[in-house]
Amino acid sequence: MNLVELETIVRRIRSRLVEMSHKARASHLGSSLSCVDILVAAYWGALTIDPKNPYDPERDRLILSKGHAASALYAVLAYRGFFSPDLLDAYAKPGSCLAEHPSPGCVPGVEVATGSLGHGLSLGMGMALAGRIQGQSFRVFIVMSDGECNEGSVWEAAMLAPAQRLDNIVVIIDFNRWQATGRSCEIMALQPLKQKWEAFGWSTHEIDGHDLKALVESLRNVPDGTGKPVAIVAHTVKGKGISFMEDDNNWHYRIPDADELRRARLELGVL
């Protein structure tokens, strides 16, 4: 699939996310919009997966550690063929399998339940170590948020992976510079983020998290030949793709009304 086609998918998914948030009256839309390119690049461009065989022991695993962006994961999995996009209509409604944070085994393709931050990297390392013990060559991709790096458990995991010489694991940090109530670089001393991961022994790359070509190239290049785990600091914009949501942290919790949904669709060219 070429980049133009991927960009079309990205726009369709962004539009769907605004609609899902509007219909379900579910928050965290800005967080979901910021990681769409990362997820599309991974699921269409890098992961060794087969939506028809979602439990293949040899498959690559992706963990959305920032579980509050679950709507983005659901939409990506549905459009990638893991389940019918019709299921997205019931997102966050009473009795739906698609809750605001994913539950265990809710739909094919969701590897783990997330929602409490700082768990995904450790879970993924367990998987990566299991792969090594069982002689399998799958890779584990973990998508984290910048605010998530506040959690101590992230740094417990970050210190162990290089000691174990795990090179089949990659962390992608969706660095949109916001967390729930403020700038992620002001609430904690997050910066210099790339150097932090480097200092912990990771092979670290810094890219534009909305550049699909750069994302696909970086994600395909795991293991990257250094023998180290890989960390990708992906610079992103919260609320990406919709002008009146971009870099406005009100959209961490705000829910679009009917007019905002219409304007968002118009901007994305998806009606």
Binding site: P57, S103, P104, E111, V112, A113, G115, S116, G118, H119, S122, L123, G124, M125, G126, M127, A128, L129, A130, G131, I133, Q134, G152, S153, E156, A157, M159, L160, A163, Q164
Partner: protein, 314 residues
């Protein structure tokens, strides 16, 4: 108990290649034999219990049977959310082994006491909680845990505990083991305090009271059949544990009793009080501070028994 654990684990690992041992930077020489044979299936996770628990969950999701090992207080409360979400919510076959349950590490201070671990893990859905009473029960509990489909917490003592069972007991998760037969009072003991419960039954014998002793190794799921029998047959049921009076074995039995009122027997709970110990002293001293001695257990039981007999007369 811990040496029995290490030996049994090594034997099990040769039978089941899914077994992986994760250590929280303890048990250095204890696992030498294991490591010499299964180095690829040993991981020192460092002093990072939260990461260890989540990693164990990740391994279990890939078909392995991880066993985590560290000091009971750090293996439970320190990383309770990782256990709750990553292990219990996913209902994964992870065996969490806590060494030094109760007051085994008394000399290290209250930071190392584990008198809230049973309560903390018992409330988690899908979790099974086992507190073996001697080395035999440790071995059998570990074997049962590996076969179990969900998470299990095994609470060990430390080392040098007397072996209670003269022969290999019948062991099943959720089924108490009668250690001494008796007819008037019934002592339910869980975990490493079992030898004291037996001594207490001997003290009671000297006072002319026939005491049954049961190793109720599984606190969750509780052996409801055995509770039902005991509360209908005996005059007094006593719970004995090296754990808080809140939420452990005594708490569990009290909850059962609230749901099954109008029993013949009254309940006496013996455990640690709702306080931290601040002073120095080993396990024997700490037990003395909390009234966890055979004499005190016997005394409290005797008093409750006398009260029940006199109320029967009136």
């Amino acid at each position: 108990m811990r040496n029995a654990f290490a030996e049994e684990l090594t034997a099990l690992a040769s039978e089941d290649e899914r077994i992986v041992l994760l250590s929280g930077d303890i048990g250095n020489r204890m696992f030498n034999d294991y490591k010499s044979r299964f180095l690829g299936r040993f991981l020192n996770c460092g002093v990072a219990e939260a990461n260890m628990m989540s990693m164990a969950a990740g391994m279990a999701l890939c078909g392995l049977r991880p066993i985590t090992y560290t000091i009971a207080s750090f293996a439970t409360i320190r990383c309770l959310e990782q256990i709750r979400i990553d292990i219990c919510y996913h209902n994964l076959p992870v065996t969490i082994v806590g060494v030094g349950g109760g007051l085994c590490y008394a000399a290290n201070g209250a930071t190392h006491h584990a008198c809230e671990d049973i309560a903390s893990l018992r409330i988690l859905p899908n979790m099974t909680v086992i507190c073996p009473g001697d080395a035999w029960e440790v071995r059998l509990a570990l074997r049962a845990a590996i076969k179990h489909k969900g998470p299990v917490y095994i609470r060990l003592g430390k080392k040098g505990e007397p072996v209670v069972h003269e022969q290999v007991p019948d062991f099943a998760i959720g089924k108490g083991i009668i250690v001494r037969e008796g007819s008037e009072v019934c002592l339910f003991s869980t975990g490493n305090i079992l030898p004291l419960a037996i001594q207490a039954s001997e003290e009671l014998g000297k006072k002319g009271i026939s005491a049954q002793v049961v190793s109720l190794h599984t606190v969750k799921p509780i052996d409801e059949n055995l509770l039902s029998e005991a509360f209908s047959e005996f005059s007094i049921v006593v719970t004995v544990e090296e754990h808080s009076l809140f939420g452990g074995l005594g708490g569990s039995v009290a909850e059962w009793l609230a749901d099954h009122p109008h029993q013949k027997a009254g309940l006496v709970r013996i455990g640690t009080d709702d306080k931290f110990l601040h002073e120095a002293g080993g396990q024997d001293y700490a037990r003395l501070c909390f009234g966890l001695t055979p004499e005190t257990i016997a005394e409290k039981t005797w008093r409750a028994y006398q009260a029940s007999v006199s109320s029967d007369v009136t």
